[in-house]
Structure formats: structure tokens, C-alpha cells
């Protein structure tokens, strides 16, 4: 039996829920650009408190999107790219459904 290559949405849904917040998306974008960053670096130039950012990072960590590492006394945060890849794959799968449907329509009306 052929196994469909659809991602496990039950697994990916919490990830999207975690991303459904402007602050957390901004954090992800910052981490994408900057590698491993400290709380101080992540809050620099923003009005948001260190406590709030830590909370947001923990939500992202629970969803498997980021993780922290200790470097001396500092706690650094970085992306967990494989989970983001997984989220992207699940979206690509969903996105493809309309594209596929329209391709079928095209074939259907043009032949």
C-alpha cells in the first residue's frame, strides 16, 4: 500500500498556534537573521520586557520551534530549523491542493 506523503497535522497545528502572534513571529524572524541570540539582544530596541520575551520564547520552545543553550552565564536562544521545515512542508502540502485542482481543471477544459 502506498502511504500518502501528507504531514501529520495534529503534530504541526500547535506549531502554527505558537506562531500566531506578532511578537513571536518577530522573534522568529530575528532568530532567523541572527543565529543564537540572548534575551538582551532580542529585546534591544523594543518596548517589550525581558520577562515577556522569555515567556514568548518558552511558548515557541514548547512548540519545538526554538531552543536555548547555555553559554557561560548567558542563556542563548536559537531556531530549531527542522520544525520550521516541517511547518513549511505541511503548508506546502495544503497550498498545493488548489494548485493541483486548478491544474486538473486546466487539463479538463483544454482537452
Amino acid at each position: 500500500m502506498r502511504k500518502p506523503r501528507t504531514p501529520d497535522f495534529r503534530k504541526t497545528a500547535p506549531m502554527f498556534a505558537a506562531l500566531g502572534d506578532a511578537t513571536r513571529l518577530r522573534l522568529i524572524a530575528a532568530l532567523c537573521a541572527g543565529g543564537a541570540l540572548s534575551i538582551a539582544q532580542l529585546t534591544a530596541g523594543t518596548a517589550i520586557t525581558r520577562q515577556a520575551v522569555t515567556k514568548h520564547l518558552e511558548v515557541l520552545a514548547d512548540a519545538g520551534l526554538v531552543h536555548d543553550t547555555r553559554q557561560g552565564r548567558e542563556r542563548l536562544w536559537e531556531l530549531q530549523p527542522s520544525r520550521i521545515d516541517e511547518a513549511r512542508r505541511s503548508l506546502d502540502t495544503i497550498a498545493a491542493q488548489w494548485d493541483q485542482a486548478l491544474r486538473r481543471l486546466k487539463a479538463f477544459v483544454e482537452t
Binding site: I84, L91, I94, F108
Partner: protein, 163 residues
């Protein structure tokens, strides 16, 4: 409501006469043939139908993806018909999990619009109403995304590629 997360838009140029495109969209059997669905009645404005997923004959890979969902019934409402110009439906987007009852959830609106183009018909499909879906379903249901998540994900992808 946020325009970028509530709505999807897709366009395709169909090199076929308007009549043919219209039939493919407005006749339930024709629609079902390319969409991969069998409907239990004709498309009549204001009517509620039941569709059942039937794997396409056209593409093995897609058929394999659809196979686990074969026979799954789903609700389909014919919202509006403007002959030869536009047709609109409502459904629970990709509500294909047999164990989930979608009936209490809001439906999204799908609108097909036909416009003349130099080589045929430019078909625009929009699906809207995603902002009203429950968050868990939203992650699942946001298909074909130009807006919203895909946009965000593209942004992330771009950043990742640079890094």
C-alpha cells in the same frame, strides 16, 4: 478581519471557450470530474449538496494522496450563480477528517470568476473566511496561501536561506 490572512486568491489562464469553462464550473458532474468529487445533485443556487471524495483518474500521485479520503462526505453549498460569469460555493475547507464534526464551524466562501483574456479565459478563484475558523483548523485549512501563513513562512524561508 485581516485581508492577508482571511483570503486566498489564485488565477489560471484557461485556453478554452467561456462556455466550456462555465460548464466545468457550473455542472456538478463536470466540476466533480476535475475536482475529484461526486456530488449527490446538481448545482442550484441556494442548495446544499453532499460531495464524496473520489480519487482522480488523471494523476497517479494525486490519486494516491486522495485514496485514504475516498468516500469521505462533505457539505457543499451553492451560494450564488451568475451564468457565464461567476459561481460561488461554501464549504468546510479540506474538512476531510472523518473523525471530526465540522458542522458547527463557519464555512469559507469560494468564488470563481471568469474574465476574457487574449488567449482564453482568465479564471480567478478566491477563498475567504479563514479568519473565522478555529485556530487549530486554521493551520490545517489555510490552503493555496498567498496571504497569511505562507507569506510568513516565505519570509522565514528567505531569512533561513540567507543565514
Amino acid at each position: 478581519m485581516n485581508a492577508s490572512t482571511d483570503r486566498i486568491e489564485k488565477q489560471v489562464l484557461l485556453k478554452a471557450p467561456r462556455e466550456r469553462v462555465w460548464r466545468a464550473l457550473s455542472e456538478a458532474d463536470s466540476f466533480g470530474t476535475w475536482f475529484g468529487v461526486r456530488f449527490d445533485g446538481p448545482f442550484v443556487e441556494g442548495e446544499r449538496l453532499t460531495g464524496k471524495i473520489t480519487p482522480t483518474q488523471v494523476d497517479d500521485e494525486i490519486a494516491a494522496m486522495q485514496a485514504p479520503y475516498e468516500g469521505t462526505p462533505f457539505e457543499w453549498i451553492v451560494e450564488r450563480i451568475e451564468p457565464m460569469r461567476s459561481i460561488a460555493f461554501r464549504w468546510h475547507p479540506f474538512g476531510i477528517d472523518k473523525t471530526v464534526d465540522y458542522s458547527h464551524e463557519p464555512m469559507t466562501l469560494i468564488v470563481f470568476e471568469l474574465r476574457d483574456a487574449p488567449e482564453g479565459i482568465l479564471l480567478t478563484v478566491t477563498e475567504s473566511g479563514f479568519d473565522k475558523l478555529p485556530p487549530e483548523r486554521r493551520a490545517k485549512a489555510f490552503p493555496a496561501n498567498e496571504g497569511g501563513w505562507v507569506h510568513q513562512m516565505k519570509l522565514i524561508e528567505k531569512y533561513l536561506a540567507r543565514h
